[in-house]
Amino acid sequence: MSMNQPLTGCVMKGPKSITLDFAPIAASFLYQSAALGIQTSANENCAGDEALCFEFETPRTAPVICQITRWEDPSRQTPVSENIMQAACGLMSVHGRTHRQPKPLGLNYVSTLTAALALQGSIAASIGRLRGLPVSSSTVSMAAAGLLSMSQYIAGATASEFPETAKAAKTTGATCPLPGSFSACPPFVSLDGVIFELETLDAGPWQKFWGELGVSSAAAGKGWRAFLLRYARAAAPLPDELPLAISKLTYHRISQICAKTGMAICPVRSIDDRAQDDDARQLWQQGPWSFSSFSSEPKPNGEYLRAGGALPGEDLPLSGFTVIESCRRIQGPLAGHLLALLGATVIRIEPPGGDPLRGMPPMAEGCSARFQALNRLKTVREIDIKSAAGKTEIRELAQHADVFLHNWAPGKAVLLNLDHGDLAALNPSLVYAYAGGWATDCAEHVSSNSMPGTDFMAQAYSGVAGKVAGAGSSRGGSLFTVLDVLGGVVAAQGITIALLNRCMNNAGAKVTSSLMSAATLLCAEDFRDIYSLPASGSKPSASIINEVYATKQGRIAVECPDMDTVLRLAEALDITAGIENKGFQRCLSEVFPLRTADEWAELFQQAGVPSAVVIEDLAEMQALAYLQPGLTPGSYTQVNSPWRFK
């Protein structure tokens, strides 16, 4: 039974006017709220420039304050913007690794993440209230959202054993330098100018494909290692031989070779292309989650409220709930990690011998730092899910759990007899969650499902890669795992929504989300424009200045959304040339090298100009006072929970 808009009857009150830097967050927040059936209205109590505030009310709970701040430290009021936060949290430098210099993503990425986490926080707080927790507000900062997106990369850069560093041989040599940039990184370009992604998770198709193109086995092997590591390092220095061979063939011919060798191929499409797909508009309208109910006999009111008994005051909103997670890689494990940060007990199913990614360097205290960044709060059960005994064990776990989360390949759940119907028959109150690559877990529903549902394929197919390319920051897409991270947040958010619905309506549910649905969320305002629908809030115009400048030491990102800010910038820089003057930009480039990025940032903070020192070495973040509240140093630097509940 379909139950989209599961929060119908709930109300979200927000401010009438919104400051410029919060506008993209508010637009995404209101889009998501509307997709869930939440009624939105204005409330003067929510006014104020220091934070973006909403009040979330369910039919069963008093209002919960949903507060969105700029920084983790509430006393820091330095004005920000999307790009400023990308610079301050290291995202710009990770995305820019393939270009040897920090680059903005060209997406409202941190803003969208912030909106999703804020909405999830207020929903989780309401669950807490329903379960007797004295929680009245949830706070999320843009900085916390930005840091969360970087958690794996920060772990890799700060691991106690051979950390990865952006600056080779910077310290004692006991570091592993990240590869420099190469023009030979994906995506690829064919003879007829088509930009496209290739994907395979096995060496076999890769080897056959390049063999067909006449590339030596040695070069293909070196390329394979770089290709695999691009998920972890946001860089893929392929030997020149590979893109050279590609450049001699048409896209059609390359597609034929892909079909023959088992390699997946997807052209980098535009948002306009994606908007014309049969399923695109419906996916945009329903939001990034699909909900269906499978409980035909709801239990009496209150049955699902107090899992594990009454909650002590110091507990978190999901304390006492049990999540069974059978996920690999990034998106699914991140979803489980977020639920653990909200207090849930997460039991992670790993294959016998453990997840091989535990051994992925760099290491911290015997385990991959990157792996720990997503899995450190979970308990592990090693189960062979293909064996009869393993399936029985999973059924037993699911019978007593609140959530079952998996990211198996499309169709695998049915084959294993562990689909939502199978587990709902054992536990009607279960929230069964699928976090996939494409928009459905049916194996052959859409043509895209024949391709591996991985981040870079989804970026290419969804139009996200095209949008990144359009912003001029890459040939197409990002090697930063844009959709794995947002997809993980969306999956955790969908589960939290289903849990609130269960608390209110006493029914279990299936919730499906995907990298594709996350991509649709990320570009929701673009789809709105294409479908010629009214905006959910005021639409900000493009900033007058939005650049990264080289200084005497380091780089600084500066954004001036309006003329007043440009005038303050000119005054701070002591530039007298008129801003309409063609020489103004040249003056900026000449003046910035006179001081360090830190010095300029302090000056601009006083002048009220949105700016941030561009983080180029992720290992240095833990030393920065304004980021410290979001980080915990140790054998690798952990990114803290993005939520604060009061």
Binding site: A203, G221, R329, Q331, L357, C367, T454, F456, D484
Partner: protein, 90 residues
């Protein structure tokens, strides 16, 4: 001919927690089998059906053996054999 095998953390419970092992071996499979004699259980974690496990990459001096002669890849004195998990997103 002695070669060095770098043992990933996940296999160290089987190798008395040793990070590096020296074994003789004329090929990758030969080296793995000699390692198996000393540390039973290692081979099945690396090899299935005569092939390297899908989620395991084996390198000889930074060269992926799949792109050489697979488990038959020849070894010479002093070679470093590294075992690493494959990584992917999604």
């Amino acid at each position: 001919m002695p070669i060095t095998i770098s043992i990933p953390t996940i296999l160290r419970p089987l190798t008395d927690n040793q990070k590096r092992i020296e074994v003789d071996g004329s090929s990758v499979l030969d080296a793995i089998e000699r390692m198996e004699q000393r540390y039973p259980g290692v081979k099945e974690r690396l090899v299935t059906g005569g092939q390297t496990h899908r989620f395991i990459n084996i390198y000889v001096n930074d060269n992926d053996i799949r792109f050489s002669e697979g488990l038959s890849t020849r070894l010479t004195d002093g070679d470093l054999l590294t075992i690493l998990p494959a990584v992917a997103g999604g």
